[in-house]
């Protein structure tokens, strides 16, 4: 009986721990929605900032984040998916492949601000792209690679072996099998991974601090070599660098960024669960 009681108490304690983990998450999301919602208006989303960012909207920051996300995807998707195809379909299990895997894990653990340093040193200064969308996208793309590679590889590996053997037994080459059979089957998983990776890029601040971000630039960027404002950096700036900033604008910006990231997260989750139910294996 006392063992049973100990078990009950133990389970209750672990349940309590889980509550300690999730309640603050609900509080953070709830507080930002609650405080940010009144600040939202069509003007806030579609107008340029005015009066030293203390009034007006955050339109250029929204556009900047979308452009950076797009640029990151243009670079990171082909490279990441290609690397995943190599690891899943070509690589043998040898020391070299292990080194690649170690490099990927390591890439994932490099602090974001170190990516910022690297981007500054290589893209901004050495290659002379300047603080630009191009430099920022390249920096974010390298940072996003490990997420895209590992989720895509997982999706590719989940495709049953028979699909490949059947393709080859019908006279298809290795590449034809990958191109026509394996990749289409793995596509939903790859898309999910790509969205998750790009989200991370969209919400990052440290890598763009010295590579793209404009403190205050009330116009849209003209080219890939232009600076831009971006939502995460904008939130950092208005909450720490600008005295007398109305709290409502800070909360509104936080809400827009959070809503953007979480809704994409939701899309990725929905794609994953939808195709998981529908797939043929």
């Amino acid at each position: 009986m006392s063992q049973q009681l100990a078990q009950k108490l133990g389970f209750a304690f672990l349940g309590l721990m889980s509550l300690v983990v999730i309640v603050p998450i609900l509080l953070v999301v709830g507080a930002i929605i609650y405080a940010g919602f009144p600040a939202l208006s069509w003007e806030f989303l579609s107008a340029m900032p005015r009066e030293g960012m203390r009034a007006g909207g955050i339109f250029p920051a929204i556009v900047g984040t979308l452009l950076l996300t797009l640029g990151t995807g243009l670079v990171a998707i082909p490279v990441g998916v290609g690397a995943a195809v190599y690891l899943s379909e070509y690589a043998r299990d040898n020391l070299f492949t292990r080194a690649i895997r170690l490099a990927i894990v390591n890439l994932a653990s490099i602090p974001s601000v170190v990516y910022g340093l690297f981007g500054l040193g290589l893209f901004v200064l050495l290659l002379q792209f300047g603080t630009s969308i191009l430099a920022g996208s390249l920096t974010l793309a390298i940072m996003t690679l490990p997420v895209i590679i590992s989720t895509s590889e997982e999706a590719l590996r989940a495709v049953p072996m028979e699909y490949r053997t059947v393709s080859e037994s019908l006279g298809g080459t290795h590449w034809q099998g990958i191109r026509r059979i394996v990749l289409p089957q793995a596509l939903p998983g790859i898309i999910t991974g790509v969205i998750l990776g790009l989200l991370r890029a969209a919400g990052e601040t440290a890598p763009i601090l010295f590579t793209v971000a404009a403190f205050f630039l009330p116009r849209l960027p003209q080219s890939a070599f232009d600076q831009t404002m971006a939502l995460p950096y904008h939130l950092y700036v208005i909450s720490t660098q600008v005295p007398g900033m109305p709290l409502s604008i800070q909360h509104g910006t936080a809400l827009v960024l959070l809503a953007f990231v979480l809704s994409m997260n939701l899309v990725a989750t929905l794609i994953r669960s939808y195709f998981r139910r529908r797939r043929e294996w």
Binding site: S18, V21, L102, V113, L117, A254
Partner: protein, 289 residues
Amino acid sequence: MEWVIEAVIRVLGFSAIGFVAMIFVFLLLEGVPAFVRVPLNNLFDTSWYPSLGLYGVWPLIIGSLLVTLVAMIIAFPLGIGTAVFVREIAPNWAREILKPLIEVLAGIPSVVLGFFGMVTVAPIIRESLGAPTGLTAFTGSLLLAYMSLPTIISVAEDALDAVPRSYRDAGLAMGATQWQTIWRVVVPAARSGILMALMLGMGRAIGETMAVLMVTGNAARIPTGLSDLFMPIRTMTATIAAEMGEVARGSTHYHVLFGVGLILFIVTFAITLSAASVMFRRRSRGGLR
């Protein structure tokens, strides 16, 4: 034609190694001059006043270690407890609520958490302690703990998942309660994966930048006692983020900041390497994690 595509794929496959190498070489090239230009007794001194030419990195290193350590003291028990709850105990409906919420936490940008920490957590800490400011090492640790929780929970959960069902059955068949089986059979069998969870969580915490920059107050001083946990502190990551924008390329300050980046790179690399060696050893031992 096909061989062109396959060659490209091969090159892309190796790209990860190339990028890591490039980042390392770059940090070396820009960071090593710091160790040449600044005398070592200055560099490893306790004063960080770049405007006066004092580049003592000790306060930054200690600051990073302190917030990471305290974050892990908070996050590790919470993370493992939650992982055990989710994997071993929770009814389905609770799991359906817990897992997506933890994913939401993983998705919140660090600048948003930092903002929340500034406007909500810091005032609470200031008032409850009667401290002059709520921007303290402890505030940073608290945020870092929650930021590393998703990593800790998911890695620990995978480790528990890999323990064969027969282990649990054997424990129960011996007359142990489920509670006893969890702590004396399942968790010990998953210990290397749980260690990995701790290490990867630590790597995540030590490299975190924005939230720490926004809530730790950024005073470069060496903590001397426990009460300093409730004083402002400054980490390596926050220093780079705060100062890099203002330095001239090629100046001593510029190189020292790259040197700090190099230290960060080496520390996280070492953490990853030891986590990976746990992983590889486990594999060569044959299956069981």
